[in-house]
Amino acid sequence: MSASNKLIKTGTAFILGDDVNTDINCSNKYLPGKDIAYVAAHAFDALAPTIAADIAAAGGGILVAGDHFGINSSREQAVHVMRAMNIQAIVARSFGRQFFRNAINNGMPLFECDTRSIQAGQMLEIDFSSGVLKIDSQPIQSAVPLPSEILAILSMGGLIPFLQKYPDWNFA
């Protein structure tokens, strides 16, 4: 894979905890009839009452969480909501398996690392191709870089735009 798949995201850290269920907190599964804009304005209310408003006021940001972000049979609508919130990336100790797929397929970069030292409001810069996270310009975290195939899908904005360009998956 060429260097053109370099993927860097920056943003302010917004903190959530462990076991965030995105079906409950970031989809209309329990809000029938509500659209993505409504869900985006109220996302994660039950976990962090002002976080959606704070992210909106900051013009977006990076979500930081603990274990199993997006736990259980996660709906991919949650990622559409997060993109509507202008969330640039999600950093967590681990992701629910289906959420991991949904995020990649919908162009949301994920970074797996120990998140305990990250404080709300810090400026994060993540280089997904090298696996380095900088907190307030200090490069103190590193994780396994995303594989080139996933970087290729993310750099196209998700699996559907990717397949429109490479219908036979022949991108290497």
Binding site: S73, R75, Q98, N105
Partner: protein
Amino acid sequence: MGATISEKILARHAGKASVKAGEVVVAEIDFAMVTDTRAANTIKMIGKLGDKMLPFAKNTALVLDHYSPPPNLEAAEIHSSMRAFSKERGTKLYDIGDGICHQVLPEGGHLTCGDLVVGTDTHSVTYGAFNALGTGIEGTDVSAVMMSSKLWFRVPETVRVELRGELQPGVWAKDITLAMLGRFGAEGLNYHAIEYVGSAVAAMDIDDRMTLCNHAAELGAKAAILEPDEKTFAWLRAHGAKTPLPTYADADAHYAKQVVIDAASLAPQVARKHEVDDIVSVTDIDRQRIQFALIGTCTNGRLDDIRQAAAVLKGRKLAAGVRMIVTPASRQIYLAALREGLIEILTEAGASFESAGCGTCVGITNHLVPGDGDTVISTANRNFKGRLSNKNADIWLGSAATVAASALTGFITDPRTVAGGTWRSAA
């Protein structure tokens, strides 16, 4: 170094000699499935793909199981759109009452040993009972599969679980999976594939093996997979599956963890209310009254489960104040239970039968809504607060034998203590 079953299946489907855990591969799919909970999103995503041919539609089944029968207009309209999509694009279709996706796929002969199968439901891990790698996906994923017959996968690490000895009569695969949840916790094996091996697996019939693999979803597993044997091959032949490609782990395969469980000493297990990993032995439960008993779901709605219930309840009545619903996992199971006289036995005992589907597992058809303060004992795989549409009711989980014994006494009961509770198939 050798390879695990999952590594071998993924390597073969990616056209590679070998793969290693953590690597991302693009693999050819053998069969795909879409349920009615994700069909609307899938059809939307296919629309986003543009005017594309869907050559894999013929190897895709649309299954109308969760909202079966549809409880409202929205669900009925989703079903109508699925029927129209299926006809237009040439997918297979299982309509309401045909059964739960994870039962109708193997019954329909759609998968065999060595296959890679995806479905829009986390319990797609069930296909591992047939030595196929089955895993859950979402709408974008299955759109990509229908268009290209391929999908990306991150190769999972494998955990090997050896089940030593044989389960005692009255103890079932459900009790092993609950014990695993007690040991590792919900999502405790997130991303991992599980290989169950050992004499207790060999002794299990296919119905119980499906339970063993199915319930791995609650552990967060990407797959749960068994080595095949003569029972597997005979079952697949009887259901018209294509020629199997039996896939075994190498002796020097790398495992992230190796675990041994003494199956012979295991007592029936139950998950206490609200938490799927709050597990205790049924022998430690003291006078826990129940009002509702449910046998069914993709975890335990098979013929052997219904037989367990009939063995306990034949010629008897449910305890006063207990209601019981049985939901066979498929129309074929319903018919088999009918022909064996099991439906008559359970109906005379006071149970009611629902048409095959998922509705009594998750509260989306509202066919089973417990009252405030009610306690439900269920063979389902999840017991989150409010899962049956009432946050003021409790759901406990156990095997079909435990549920039937509890329905008989009115209290959560060790099936080994009631007549018929140690029934096991003579095969």
